[in-house]
């Protein structure tokens, strides 16, 4: 009996896998929008893949939570547009002093929490003080340079930094910048008390989360009465649900299944800041040899890999197109197996054996391509597919790996290459210096230039390989207008979405 129990735990551990198939891709067509009149009483049903583990956006990281809660349920002083530009949200206006140290925000009028309480600058101060002082709260590290948060009057908030921080305003567009009611007793894991255009009405775990329009919203009211997010972890089941009319929008469509939806749906390809990162353990031999790292990059046929994955664009450096500091770095690296072999010979690594540690939910497509590409230059790749928590422990925390693959989805996370303690193990004083200069630079354009310079060095050092920049495919029914396209894996702003009764 006890043996059975143990076996049960083992089976549980073994059985958790997700399959992502791959072949060749269909080409989505340009968007057509609805022609019927919007129905203000409509319910919008959206299919998604990853369900949040809980709704406590203050303490839990993850795109699945941010995606639906930010801008819809909770709001910050500022927010980001689809192309990652910063704009005011709760703040009607904000100013940054010339020395880049003082941020002054003016609040919009009539903002209220969902429980009816009016929002004042005191709530902002309390929320941000929590982020600053509580290390368990998301964004605590981003608030390290905050000296003080004060409210000169009921509609003004002033934040003073100890040093200029180019990333600070952008950090406020994330979970760190959201405003919660001071001393609120709401259990944030399962309920909410935000200020956004929607309220949470129901969460039936494992299947749906439902929002209702907030008719007392301080700004422009939402265009639909209700939104139902349906969580469908299986890609095929998602497509079937869309074809059966259960959802009018399907996000994160599997590129290989996308053609099935053509005709009934408009397919959009959205840009993201997802960087499919093949990390090299820069501190570990033989990967501490730049020739080996370059050889590995030269041996990867990026175009063929993207073809196999089915969506995405090439990315040859650490900064994606939607982030400041992006430039096309395709001149740094090419596909050249012959040169790769030469470099490996030069480095004395003709019979190299490496292990790739990859969280199992990324499937087998990428490992398969890498195995065959590396094989052509005499590198044997072993694949160690692990559960995500195991990856976090072995790779992220203990840096115990050769090569690793994860999708780094966070925008503006170039700082990881300026952090020698990050799991990349990349330690370059020049890059670190350029990065801190970029952070301290008050002029955004100059800051971006410094970032671009640092990013080029990182790529020329072959600190990692960026297999592709992810694209997200969304299928939208012709009855739906205004559904966002870009970055929707981190934000689905529903404010401007409408559904018409007729096609």
């Amino acid at each position: 009996m006890f043996r059975r129990t143990r076996r049960l735990a083992l089976i549980s551990a073994l059985a958790a896998t997700a399959v992502i198939l791959s072949a060749c891709s269909g080409t989505p067509e340009p968007a057509a929008t609805s022609t019927g009149a919007p129905d203000p009483d409509a319910t919008l049903q959206v299919g998604l893949v990853l369900e949040p583990t809980n709704l406590d956006i203050r303490h839990t990281s993850g795109a699945a939570i941010e995606q639906i809660l930010i801008d819809n349920i909770y709001e910050g002083l500022v927010t980001r547009t689809q192309d990652n530009e910063i704009e005011g949200r709760l703040a009607s206006d904000y100013q940054v002093s010339d020395d880049g140290l003082t941020y002054t925000f003016t609040l919009n009028d009539g903002i209220a929490f969902h429980d009816g309480t009016a929002l004042t600058s005191a709530d902002v101060v309390a929320s941000y003080e929590t982020v600053r002082t509580d290390a368990t709260v998301q964004g605590n590290a981003e608030f390290a340079s905050v000296a003080s948060i004060t409210a000169p009057d009921a509609t003004t908030v002033e934040i003073v930094l100890t040093e200029p921080n180019q990333n600070f305003l952008f950090a406020l567009t994330g979970p760190a910048g959201l405003v919660f009611k001071a001393d609120d007793a709401t259990d944030l894991k399962t309920a909410e008390n935000g200020t956004g255009p929607f309220t949470l009405t129901r969460w039936s775990k494992g299947s749906t989360i439902t929002f209702a329009r907030n008719d007392d919203y301080w700004g422009e009211k939402a265009g639909v009465a209700e939104v139902e997010f349906q969580y469908i972890p299986d890609f095929t089941a998602g497509v079937n649900a869309a074809l059966a009319g259960d959802v009018q929008v399907l996000t994160a469509v599997d590129p290989n299944l996308a053609p099935q939806l053509e005709g009934d749906f408009t397919l959009t390809k959205g840009r993201t800041t997802d960087k499919a990162t093949l990390a090299f353990n820069n501190k570990k031999a033989p990967l501490d040899d730049v020739r080996v790292r370059e050889a590995l990059r030269l041996s990867i046929d990026h175009d063929a890999l993207i073809e196999a994955v089915g969506a995405g664009t090439t990315l040859y450096g650490p900064i994606p197109e939607l982030d400041p500091g992006y430039e096309d770095l395709s001149d740094v690296i090419s596909y050249d197996p012959e040169k790769a072999k030469e470099l490996l010979a030069e480095a004395g690594q003709e019979d190299l054996e490496l292990t790739l540690t990859i969280p199992s939910f990324y499937g087998t497509t990428v490992p398969k391509v890498l195995i065959s590409d590396f094989n052509k230059v005499g590198v044997t790749l072993k694949v160690n597919s692990v559960e995500f928590p195991t990856w976090l422990e072995d790779v992220y925390t203990n840096h115990d790996y050769d090569l690793s693959f994860v999708l780094h989805v966070e925008p503006r996370d170039f700082g990881n290459f300026a952090n020698p303690d990050y799991y990349f193990g990349y330690d370059n004083a020049e890059v670190q210096d350029l990065y801190s200069q970029a952070q301290a630079e008050v002029d955004p354009d100059k800051s971006a230039e410094l970032l671009a310079k640092a990013a080029r060095i990182v790529s020329e050092d072959h600190a990692a390989d960026w297999l592709y920049n992810g694209e997200t495919i969304t299928a939208v029914s012709p009855t739906v207008s205004g559904f966002p396209e870009d970055s929707i894996n981190s934000r689905i702003n529903l404010a401007g979405v409408t559904v018409s009764a007729e096609k």
């Binding site: 549980s12 551990a13 059985a15 990281s61 368990t136 894991k189 299947s207 976090l392 422990e393 996370d413």
Partner: protein, 316 residues
Amino acid sequence: MIRYALVRGALLIAGLLVSSVLIFLTLRVFPGDVAQLIAGTQASPAEVEALRESLGLNQPLLAQYADWIGGIFRGDLGTSLLSGASVSEELFLKAQVTVPLGIMSLLIAVLIAVPFGILAAILRGRRGGTALSVGAQALAAVPVVWAGMMLIVVFSVWLGWLPPQGFPRTGWSTPGKAIKSLLLPALTIGIVEGAMLMRFVRSATLQAAGQDFVRTAAAKGLTRTRALVQHGIPAVGLSIITVLGLQVAGIIVGSVVIEQLFTLPGIGRMLVADVGTRDLIKVQSELLVLTGFVLVVGFLVDLLHRAIDPRQREAA
């Protein structure tokens, strides 16, 4: 009888305690923890450490165990570290898939095992009997996952009669749909477990056939087969109850695998997901409930057996 029940009950409690320690320790072997998962890939080690502290993951193992088991004694299965939901609520919710699945599987197993097992006993030594026995041996050795995939291929892909996976969003408010979606998974477990059970039914029947009272009946002029059916089978039923208790454990293990394969939102799938997120408090309680269920079934079967079968009492 009372004394026996008390002794057997004490054994049950001891068994549960030992299980709880085993479960608790086994789960601590897994690499990674829920704090890392919650903090994500942009968190500094200090942030993860602070989170660990606030979740109570830094407490000594003994204190963590005492906390958990203390709650169990108060009837509190704890709350999920991740979702903040009460474990008992979630168990109850998911049981609405797993319990019907288990009952259906058991029914199918019995429906397969009893007639075919008796038939195999009657046809013993003939070609048909041998074929049945070999078939049962083969089926019992089939991995549940493979059986499930074969059934999906036949009934969903080729014939299109049953859905290949999933459970209706509407749940039991649409009973027809719900039962339909559980049919294939139940059939999968039922066939494999039924094949095991069938071999047992066959040998129990043969044993019964050799009993004095069956021989007496046959001597009175009944054919051997009729003597067996009229007098032997009731005795067989008794032994089957005992084995069914053991089958319950098999069905639970089967349902963990099968719920993955058929993406059913049941306890098995939840268990796998919770191990995947290292929500250990939740996994502990879930496993303890499942183990407890198996042990309690064993306990009841033993009592029942003793109450029904006079020979057991004499032996004691």
